[in-house]
Amino acid sequence: MNRRRVIVAALPTAVVLVAAVVLLVVDRRTVVVSAPLGTMLLVAAVIVAAVTVVALVWRAHVRRAVSRAKEDATGSAAAEHRRFLDRLDHELKNPITAIRAAVAVSDAATPQLASIDAQTTRMARLVGDLRKLGELQTAPMERVPVDPGTIVTDVAATVGDAHGRDIRVTLPSAPWPLPSVTGDPDLLFTAVHNVVANAVKYSDPGDTVEIRGIERSGRVVVEVADTGRGIPAADVASVLQELARASNARDRPGSGLGLALVRTIVDRHGGTVTVDSHEGRGTRVSIELPVGVG
């Protein structure tokens, strides 16, 4: 509450208090009020109710202020993080461009040139992917009704065909199918695709990969579960961060940006991503999206 509102709220009380003090000093007359007990109780009830209402309003206001402050802090941390990635991108792209140009113009017989070229290409890809991730946080996004069931079925077919794997899909049909979510169908496909592709990548051909669609408390949940290698407990909390890779994932190629991309897309749709995993048993990634709004 700002200072002006506090003054306005306290002013009547202050006026009455001043009047009371003045009357106590200059006027010693006594007022005797006679009223039925019921009326007195009624007045007492009204006063208690008014105090309670004021206290509740005040508490709700304080809570709102605290939550706004928290949101602001989270927002400014996200903005600071984004500025850092922008600076990193900005500072790396010119040196990498210069190295790539130098490699291109060098004599092909130069020792280690192929290795320099390969590593620079790798860095260039990483910088490019970081930028794409940054762009995705602010890029204009379509907002149309999207059927999550269609997305899940398409992803299962695409990833299954590409890797020769059987991906089980379970979608509800009763009492009704999954409701629509609002968002960008291309981005939502990308998010689910990345999670399913990860499940296939970190599991063996004999392992199970399942996608389940559930409607729960006004939200659509898409769970992607596998019986693959799982994520070490120490790494589970960080796998959704940029460049984070589980310590047991080093034998597979990857940039550590796939799940960060998923989180960015789902964030932009007002949803959440959670990861549950046991090393050696498997992983379940849950994408939760609000129904009908995004």
Partner: protein
């Protein structure tokens, strides 16, 4: 290629570490290369040397790449320009294309890719389609596209397209005859090109074909180039 026939290319970048290597590479790739360190110097070189193509960084002191492009187009100079985009905003790229850049490449890029793009732009110009990228109204066999108004007509009847389908048609129509890879189209229209999601391009092409009544097996406008991407097949003119 003889030196007389070599296309004149002006490379504009304030990073000497880049121009020091990129200029000799472009020369070796068959271009007659001049270098400018910023947009102001580039304008002077363009006036005196009349390059066939300009490759310019975006973020530079004095006159930056986009301002250079704007000044060129405002003065009616249609010299093709490839921008080396710097700013990590997808809006920056589409704005550059809207302002009349012929193509763009994100830094850091593969120098060989720059050579391919420069040659593609020069071929487009040689085929008489160079000015299309800075035209507001373009037409091709019953198809009319108004870029600033974001409107499309087929045989005089206005059709309705989603924003991405419009962008895709605009990009293809202003670069007719060239094969555009799906990944490239993804990057241009969506601002991202994460592999494996090129089906988004196929979906929008399907939307375009349906709205424009274009038969995929006997296309009037958009041809599928198997395993690569798409090509706008008709000749396009300024309206």
């Amino acid at each position: 290629m003889s030196s007389e026939a070599a296309p004149r290319l002006l490379l504009v970048d304030d990073e000497q570490s880049i121009t020091d290597s990129l200029a000799p590479f472009l020369s070796r790739s068959g271009f007659d290369v001049a270098v400018a360190a910023d947009g102001a110097e580039a304008l002077r070189v363009i006036a005196s040397r009349h390059p066939d193509i300009v490759v310019s960084d975006v973020v530079m002191p004095m006159v930056d790449g986009r301002e250079l492009l704007r000044r060129l187009r405002r003065s009616g100079d249609a010299t093709p320009v490839i921008l080396l985009t710097h700013v990590g905003e997808s809006g920056e790229r589409s704005a550059a294309l809207d302002e009349g850049a012929d193509d763009y490449l994100n830094k850091p890029f593969d120098p060989q890719e720059l050579v391919s793009r420069a040659r593609a732009v020069l071929r487009r110009v040689a085929a008489g389609a160079g000015g299309l990228v800075s035209s507001e109204l373009v037409e091709a066999e019953g198809l009319r596209l108004d870029r600033p108004a974001r409107r499309v007509w087929r045989d005089g009847v206005e059709v309705s397209l989603t924003p991405k389908a419009f962008q895709l048609l605009e990009f293809l129509m202003t670069r007719p005859g060239e094969v555009h890879a799906r990944e490239r189209l993804l990057s241009v229209v969506w601002g991202f090109d994460f592999a494996a999601h090129t089906r988004a391009v196929d979906n929008r092409i399907a939307e375009l074909r349906s709205v424009l009544r274009d038969d995929a097996s006997a296309p009037t406008y958009i041809e599928t180039v198997s395993g690569v991407g798409y090509r706008f097949t008709r000749s396009v003119r300024r309206a």
